[in-house]
Symmetry: C2
Amino acid sequence: MSKLLGSIEEAIRATGLKDGMTVSFHHHLRSGDYVLNMVMDAIAKAGIKDITINASSIHEGHAPLVEHMRSGVVTGLETNFISTSVGKEISRGILKKPVIFRTHGGRPADLLNGRSHIDVAFIGAPTSDDMGNCTGKFGPSACGALGYAFTDAQVADKVVIITDNLVPYPLTDFSIPEIYADYVVKVDKIGDPKGIVSGTTRITKDPVALKIARLAVECIKASGLLKDGFAFQTGAGGASLAAAAYLKDVMLKEHIKGSYVMGGITGYLVDMLNAGCFESILDVQCFDLNAVESIRTNPRHQEVSDAQYASPGAKSCAVDGLSVVILGATEIDLDFNVNVHTDSNGYIMGGSGGHSDTAAGAKMAMIVTPLVRARIPIVTKKVQCISTPGSTIDVLVTQRGIAVNPARQDLLEKFKAAGLPVVTIEELYEKAMDIVGDYKPVQMGERVVADVVYRDGTVIDHIYQVED
Amino acid sequence: MSKLLGSIEEAIRATGLKDGMTVSFHHHLRSGDYVLNMVMDAIAKAGIKDITINASSIHEGHAPLVEHMRSGVVTGLETNFISTSVGKEISRGILKKPVIFRTHGGRPADLLNGRSHIDVAFIGAPTSDDMGNCTGKFGPSACGALGYAFTDAQVADKVVIITDNLVPYPLTDFSIPEIYADYVVKVDKIGDPKGIVSGTTRITKDPVALKIARLAVECIKASGLLKDGFAFQTGAGGASLAAAAYLKDVMLKEHIKGSYVMGGITGYLVDMLNAGCFESILDVQCFDLNAVESIRTNPRHQEVSDAQYASPGAKSCAVDGLSVVILGATEIDLDFNVNVHTDSNGYIMGGSGGHSDTAAGAKMAMIVTPLVRARIPIVTKKVQCISTPGSTIDVLVTQRGIAVNPARQDLLEKFKAAGLPVVTIEELYEKAMDIVGDYKPVQMGERVVADVVYRDGTVIDHIYQVED
């Protein structure tokens, strides 16, 4: 008795995959992922067409997907994030059907409430036994957490585990149990370790980013939220990690014992755990090798499912307990609406991920960004695309001042009392305009290429075609 | 933000529990459980009637349930096992509706496929945070695994976690995640530790039981199944543990490395793991303190859900990989059908538990039992109640010989070749009759007091009223 099949081709046949069906993938192998490409190549070779892909994220490594879209093998895409290469083609109108953008919390919610359906889930697993007990913690392609695959495993009609490290049954310390797996396929490699985890993430040396990070930490101090039990999320890029580093110093100096830290987990957050800044890490996804090592060995570094991380359909989820989240933006407008989906030319190059989930959940949601990037204003009159509604954003931190959402007079007063450089968002907009001169936002086409679905299931915006 | 309520009464109100609804309980606190009694007392006090209890097992500690049945608070019972006190009253006809007996695997299957529905699950948890992340591994009432509560948490409309050890959010290393919990209640004690775990389980000194255990191990050796990768389950009573002890000696002497061991986990099985007889323990329920300590500290001692243990509705489950299971019986008949539901007077005093699940799954399912107990024949012409169909039982081991199911000629030949004392089951029946003389089975009444639902959902037998 074994669920092991000889190849991905065989698994595709076994699942009964047909034209018009939906297949799913997770993005824990990030840009190093071979699984999505291998499966889609096999689907194309099998002559199957009109497939919708439901993937938690699409990364640069998935650029071959463009060919499958061109050929009609792939005609639909539901995802929480699309990286540049595929994003650009979507923006140019390669798909007839609009892409459905969800959030990391909205995706499991919609899968569990039936708004979205998966026929066959293909789950890349760094270690599995032949019955499908699997984990991301071990193996040559270890990626740590497998949180974004939990719900797919639970709801998909058929589940195929694809691994490059097959171990004897039963694998203990599994992330996904055999009860959900139909088939297991062993391949040579599920991904390129260099792309799966980024080695060691580095903190920026850019003085503007460092200034913003320092200001962000001053805001956190002034907010009154930085006390025992503090729960925190930050990203891995730009000023975010630098803010975490400053925050660590403050927490150690003031003997503040935080509760938990979340987000894409890096070695910096692991260091904060080990230094005693936090009691625990809740980890839905690891970003570097230190995080993978930590989740494997430290019981206080706990893997959680996508639903537990952020689903508004769950009876509760961890984003709702956050004290502070630090987030980025490609644009933020006078109503504090944030765009993280498109670039200044209107091309798709991102997506909500957990942006709007954490913004909705955290007591203080902060955007950290330079006022202007490469002569493009970040603070604008109206964002091209609302990824995260302004009603859930509390603070904008730039190198030229801090703007507080008018709905948060409490924070405004605290920041003023702390002597922080508070300005209005209109003032920041004027400053940005002064720098860039008469910046003209790009004119978008008429055709909708993507719908932005908020975490509660409502469509909050559309993304339009870019006319080259 | 917290799910904490002040009392069980408050939680009952919050869930909207009403007349005619179904509430569920797990049995990990065994005879030491206070939760079922506390909740049912509160339901009675609230004036709610006509409640169906769906509990994985009913133990001696739940004797107060009889009063709630008498008063009409409880009018239905679905369970996998009923201990003597409540069982006797069921057999006397205290409930108008027949009890629905399921198996440990059939229960999660029927909950997940919708044949059985839970309105409110009350989950006693030895440790929980205020959002309902909970575990049985820690706390003054630690019981180890919480496997039988996993499916209840997943499917119940409302879920109340009842704990006596509230810890700060977020509890890491949880068994059941917060996504399923509606409310949390802190009480003084969820159970009596002396009743929850039995301290140290002892191996029998009865020479007849020891002889049967030795014969059982001889059968396992002769079967050809005892080799690297061997997967094993045994119970905690009578000859079963003695067989495990003999088996350990054989495995160590012959350097056999088994795969996994399951069942109600005791210190004896933990010793076998630690001695290297097995690679891992899959644990749906702990029976003693050594098992609780092991599941808390040894990553190769893995908690599994009831569905992963035994559900025929899951895409696979662990019982299907068993090489050998050793089981008991209160009766076994000439067709190898086994009764574990009723005693010689026809009173309910047990239930399938995992009996028929493991018998169906294992390559060799063995019944170990003395031929006669207290002048009652165990081998009979026809069992009072079919708990486990004879088609899934391969071998009967008694002190007077070994009978092999005629369907297993392969085993018969191997046993004969090994010089084992093989007889037919008819011969064992005759021997039993010789000992007990003209034993007359009890005459049952006409009214059905319980339906025995096999793991596939079909009713395979009825249990009739006992007429005092």
